[in-house]
Symmetry: C2
Subunit: 231 residues, 2 copies
């Protein structure tokens, strides 16, 4: 604790006075009262960014899916389960934010129906079939909002790919209409304490070499800070 306070004291306050909204963790899309679809995101990257942003002087709100992580000090945390709940919270919170960083691994689809009772396994019966509907795109929704379009909200996305990172992440940045996108290889990072990040912007891409998520969070926030519109 004391160590953290000392580190925080000597961290350059590159984000002093900024309000930062961060989404983190997986979403959980219910199938029935017991089961659901989720993904391997541990939330560690988003939580590391939230902590680093707070230490860099920002006022941080963290919208979190179900994770097993302690809330970073002096960070306001809102817990959600589904993509729809995360979108609702993000839309509300983003109107007063300067920077939005979407690290959450949001489910692209959710089951078309949520069963009210636990789906029972019955002897000899056929297995269930699951139909999906598309979830709202949180990052694209925020990026299209008046706050973002007016230049008051700087939007940063994350892409977790299993392969073809440069191709998929570049395309994703353009499709979402955001100035900065951070790519990483999902299966290499989920649950791990370190990672490699690749930052994509209008001028191309640059790699932040393998480091702890805590160190990468600081580097990423410096990259964001120097790209913020001057005003």
């Amino acid at each position: 604790q004391i160590v953290h306070d000392v580190i925080a004291h000597f961290t350059p306050k590159v984000l002093a006075g900024k309000r930062i909204l961060i989404t983190a963790g997986p979403t959980f899309e219910a199938i029935d009262p017991v089961r659901g679809i989720t993904n391997r995101s541990s939330g560690k990257m988003g939580y590391a960014i939230a902590q680093a942003a707070q230490e860099a002087g920002a006022q941080v709100t963290l919208i979190s899916g179900p994770v097993a992580l302690p809330t970073p000090r002096n960070v306001q945390r809102l817990d959600v389960q589904s993509a729809q709940q995360m979108l609702d919270a993000a839309l509300t919170q983003s109107t007063t934010a300067d920077i939005f960083i979407a690290t959450a691994a949001v489910a692209d689809w959710r089951p078309a129906q949520i069963a009210e009772h636990k789906i029972k396994k019955a002897e000899g019966e056929s297995t269930p079939q699951l139909n999906f509907v598309e979830n709202p795109d949180i990052l694209a929704s925020i990026a299209r909002s008046t706050t973002a379009q007016s230049g008051r909200l700087y939007c940063v996305g994350f892409a977790a790919e299993s392969d073809n990172l440069v191709e998929f992440a570049s395309a994703k940045r353009k499709r979402k209409g955001i100035p900065l996108l951070v790519g990483n290889i999902g299966p290499n990072t989920f649950g791990q304490d370190d990672n490699i990040l690749t930052i994509f912007d209008d001028s191309g891409h640059v790699e932040l070499p393998r480091a702890s998520k805590r160190e990468l969070a600081k580097q990423l926030l410096q990259e964001i800070a120097k790209r913020l519109p001057k005003n």
Copy 2:
């Protein structure tokens, strides 16, 4: 730590010399390298039983799905993801066990195929459809094994229901062919630190009133100990 040691010292060793095999947590059934189906089990009940069993003098092996819990002291822990992996580990370990307690919330079904690459969301394309195949029934498989059928292995099951607990749990105990089944209401307990258990055996059912999972674990082990075949 010292407190735990003192508690352990004064705990009656009702399971001295017994080898106990416990499954705990959810399973994670992969859809692709990023996504999967899981459930709301936190693993807390199973971990509490593992710790209480160790304190009651047993030699404990814990087969665990993905959870965010520390391994109880002096407990051997084997980590698995899918139901098939959990079954494989349980079949191997059960041959030398005296008691098998299946607390894990095992997925009844898994996706029929695991996609090798992350399933992409493409503009305008239809949502995916997921077909399932039935998972092996771990508890029933162990209960049918030679070790259990010969009376050398005492099998205890868990049932998490969303409703109709007595009806569903009684039927489940008979279907699985086990002497003891512990029922609870899933949505009331998942992630919580306390619970209510209902114990079903040949003579009916009895409720262990709401208490911490740690306290319920001790009571349950006493119920098991007094039902063990004398030899």
